[in-house]
């Protein structure tokens, strides 16, 4: 993260400004990915006018980074009308799409509207593996065609490679594909519970040994011993906020529900009933999330991994306590370092290998890094 972005985040935190919003336009999708956490039926999405009004409110509240996602964003017929409106309000816009519906006209329009980046999920370089995960025959070819068109128009594209048991061995080839297409690749072995809390899809997570291998792959982490050694926990670290969720960022569903994060489904208000800025400032739920520092986490504050753990407060919340550990991240820290966390030492493992790591493809920068 650049110094200026760090300063920007610190200033937003001080002024209580929601710097980043993740807005899902729809949960409808033309793919049926086996690991997806969403209910794809339309239960009453916000209208075009409602979303434009929300964008006005977000700009007024100071939102700078706007991630527009779904579902599949191009399932909304008003997608480009909304994108154009967002750019007119000068948001820095990132899109998440499967790119299946992107043709030359769409790619050209995305470029013309000054979108910062487009993230596309590619699960494997092998069609039989990718298409079996999306349950859409021909989807790999169509997604790759979409990426090529975006690149032809000089759009910055990022491939998101979510790892699960079905494709964990394919990430080196996906990274090679990224180099061929001249796009970034992020590796993400994160299978999250359904938004309604259903955890059945978690059995798709990669095995402990495969996870350990990913974390020890020097092609991804650079200097593995250095990356994997937990840094000491400084006293000042204990005053750190656990995450940007609810502090400088939040999530808004297609139905107007506001949560601290897409992965932190704590209902905090609805923009159909309350102005966005009022929810951001006054929601008791968001204010509670904001009040929590590492020092307030009974187990994690005493853990050797406290300074490097990617503990996700949303996953902790989904496990029943937003001040508790995220056992999946305990497992991740263990896979990364070989040192059990405070909770694992107490034998309190939930045995759900749910982790979250991200990085850049550039050989100069490790592709996997502790996400904090």
């Amino acid at each position: 993260m650049s110094r200026l972005i760090q300063e920007m985040a610190a200033k937003a935190l001080k002024l209580n400004i929601p710097l980043s919003v993740h807005l899902d336009l729809t949960y409808r999708c033309n793919e049926r990915c086996i690991h997806c956490y969403l209910d794809h039926d339309d239960h009453g999405e916000m209208t075009t006018a409602e979303i434009k009004g929300l964008m006005d409110q977000m700009a007024e509240a100071g939102v700078f980074f706007l991630t527009i996602s779904g579902g599949e964003i191009l399932m909304r017929r008003d997608f480009f009308e909304l994108l154009e409106y967002a750019r007119r309000l000068l948001f820095s816009v990132k899109l998440k799409t499967n790119a299946v519906l992107i043709r030359d006209k769409e790619a050209e329009r995305i470029r013309a509207l000054g979108v910062e980046s487009v993230q596309v999920s590619i699960y494997s370089h092998r069609a039989e593996v990718h298409d079996a995960i999306t349950k859409m025959p021909g989807s790999l070819k169509r997604s790759l065609d979409g990426i090529r068109l975006l690149r032809r128009h000089d759009v910055h594209v990022i491939i998101a490679n979510v790892l699960m048991r079905q494709n964990v061995g394919d990430y080196p080839a996906v990274r090679a594909l990224g180099r061929e297409l001249d796009v970034q690749v992020t590796i993400d072995p994160t299978i999250t519970p359904m938004m309604d809390g259903d955890r059945s899809i978690l059995n798709l997570n990669v095995s402990d040994s495969a996870l350990r291998d990913v974390f020890r792959d020097p092609e991804l982490v650079g200097n593995a011993p250095e990356t994997c050694a937990p840094p000491p926990v400084e006293n000042s670290t204990l005053d750190d906020l656990p995450c940007s969720a609810g502090n400088t960022s939040c999530y808004i569903s297609p139905y107007g529900d506001v949560y601290p994060c897409v992965q932190f489904p704590l209902p905090s208000g609805n923009v159909r009933r309350t102005r966005f800025r009022d929810i951001w400032k006054d929601s008791p739920q968001l204010n509670e999330v904001r009040s929590i520092t590492l020092r307030d986490l009974p187990s994690c504050s005493k853990c050797v991994h406290g300074g490097s753990c990617s503990r996700c407060p949303g996953l902790a919340f989904l496990e029943g306590n937003m001040r508790g550990p995220s056992y999946q991240d305990c497992e991740k820290s263990f896979a990364r370092t070989g040192i059990p966390s405070e909770n694992l030492k107490k034998g309190k493992t939930a045995r759900i290998p749910l982790v979250q790591i991200q990085g850049l493809q550039s050989p100069a920068q490790p592709a996997l890094a502790a996400a904090r």
Binding site: I5, V63, F64, E116, H156
Partner: protein
Amino acid sequence: MTAKRYVARSTEIAARVLGDEVMIMSARDSTLFSLNEVATLIWEAADGKTPLEEIVADKICARYDVAPDVALRDAEELVEELATRGILVLSETPVAPASAMSKGAA
């Protein structure tokens, strides 16, 4: 006599007022910029219709103790640099204004 110069915010950027400064990101290369107080005044007034000379007189000289010719010279340097980075558009004729920008407020 020097021709009038008009300045307009580029559409190829993302921007927001954060407290007392403007944060701008270039869509061209995702570079992030922060404008100081004076640059922010010029940025906010860059509607494509008001000549730079008038912006400097109304927004800078009226507020700061600075000679008009010095302020104009500094402003010209600034807008030229911002134009080089794709943040402002310069023209000798009025240009269509870019979008209005909202101020982030607590």
